[in-house]
Amino acid sequence: MSVFLPETILNWLPDTIQLFYLVATAFFIRGVKLLNSPGTARKGNQFAAIGMMIGVLVTLFDQNIVEFELIIGGIVIGGLIGLLLAKKVQMTSMPELVAVFNGFGGAASALVAWGELARKPEILSFDTTGLVSIGLSVFIGALTFTGSFIAFGKLSGFISGNAITFPGLNMINIGAMIATLGLIGYFAFDPTNSTLFWVILGISLLVGVTSVIPIGGADMPVVISLLNSYSGIAAAMAGFVLQNNLLIVSGALVGAAGLILTNIMCKAMNRSLSNVIFGSFGGVAGGSAGIRDGDKNVHETSAEDLAIQVAYASKVVIVPGYGLAVAQAQHIVKEVATKLESRGVQVKYGIHPVAGRMPGHMNVLLAEADVPYDLLKDMDEINPEFTTTDVVLIIGANDVVNPLAKTDPTGPIYGMPILNVDDAKRTVVFKRSLSVGYAGVDNPLFYAEKNQMFFGDAKKSLQALNEALNEV
């Protein structure tokens, strides 16, 4: 686009572009900051989008860019696909979508580095820094790409959510990563050896697969968050290849912010990052372990029984979990809650930090079902309220209400903060069976004297309860 500008401006153009990049960076930083709190988050996202728009528009004036057919074509195709995906996706599939976008971002950075290498007619025109940056960008970008798609596969059920691993796999992965770094160094000395480039690309793609596949399905959100951090670093590396400040700054920003966010999520799950990556811990919720102790008794309830209990209660707390998200029962929960409220029952929702399929996911799902935001209570807010609660409806949640987290120091979930539902007068667990949760431990709450089990699919059970409420 620079051809449209008068000669006098052309002299200033490179500096002007840099200044606009600085403005774009400021928008990114401000945007991420605003994304930190609920009141300003939407504005923050818009700030970041404006920053991106500035960055793209200004780049079009770069004097090196002389052909626009591919650019226009690429933006139109990519824009339409992105638009469609963003509009059509179900909120329950949010984790999968983020994984897919993330994979594309990583792949794009690897392609930028590869394209730059292929585009330059003389490979020796790259200096050592350029070649190392190309190698790193391809490595991290390709790893992010395949890793994200394995994560997507695990979340959507194409690939078993269980930890697929064998002894020594972690060591092999670490070895392969170190070997790749060595190869990148070698590539910088011998750039004409194109086999080297293909080997680096090949190993990187493979390592993405083998390092994500041993991680359990329930840990995928943390993995995606970490891979998101990687895709930022890959973008920064591509920035080193092109000597582009905007790429370096924004890439580093996302890389670091993603790492911190990953850490916050790990803390919410009471796990360390290395435990998530190397621990091979747990699969998806479910399984069919059944009752392991024959002499333990559970009290079963029916829709009609439960309808009477909740209809005449004064305060009901709903604890939604992963199972509710899977059954897509968030709308019917809202209907039941509305019916109870119209009878004068006080209804609140207790949300554990890791409820849903990724941290914060449950809040998004309930918001989509029009549940008022102020009824969603964080764990710290709702815990003191259980003592005055008549009935707690636990729908598709298990480990987050397991008292063993407080009482069994040897158990795998010991120390995880839980919702103290056993303080309430009565608890009702909506669940298909008595199977263990993803942590693989039995839940004594199911057998407690004041607990009742409502067996069945969460959505069907709630529909039955909803109809039964009409009869009360």
Partner: protein
């Protein structure tokens, strides 16, 4: 424009520190949108893709750049829009009360 490597490293490291400082006490409610928003920003690699696809050179390199533009644009457009869709749902509820 020739830039010296130390300067680029300087920028990289300082920007990383800003990134570490930016995310502080995020409420769990915002984990999902924040992740998807940060993800959209990592699509900044689109700027690099534009340069690769639009500059003169070997056609193979330019077509690779073209593929990069498509993927990066999906990441950017999709990422920002879906984040906005999520945050809009929160916003709506707060306005009503």
């Amino acid at each position: 424009m020739e830039v010296d490597l130390t300067l680029l490293l300087f920028i990289f490291v300082l920007a990383s520190f800003i990134g570490f400082e930016l995310i502080s006490k995020v409420p769990p409610t915002l984990h999902t949108p924040l992740m998807s928003g940060a993800n959209a920003i990592s699509g900044i690699t689109i700027v690099g893709a534009l340069i690769v696809a639009g500059s003169l050179g070997n056609p193979l390199g330019k077509w690779i750049g073209f593929a990069a533009i498509i993927l990066a644009t999906i990441n950017v457009v999709g990422g920002f829009m879906v984040t906005d869709r999520m945050l809009e749902m929160f916003k709506k509820k707060e306005d009503e009360k």
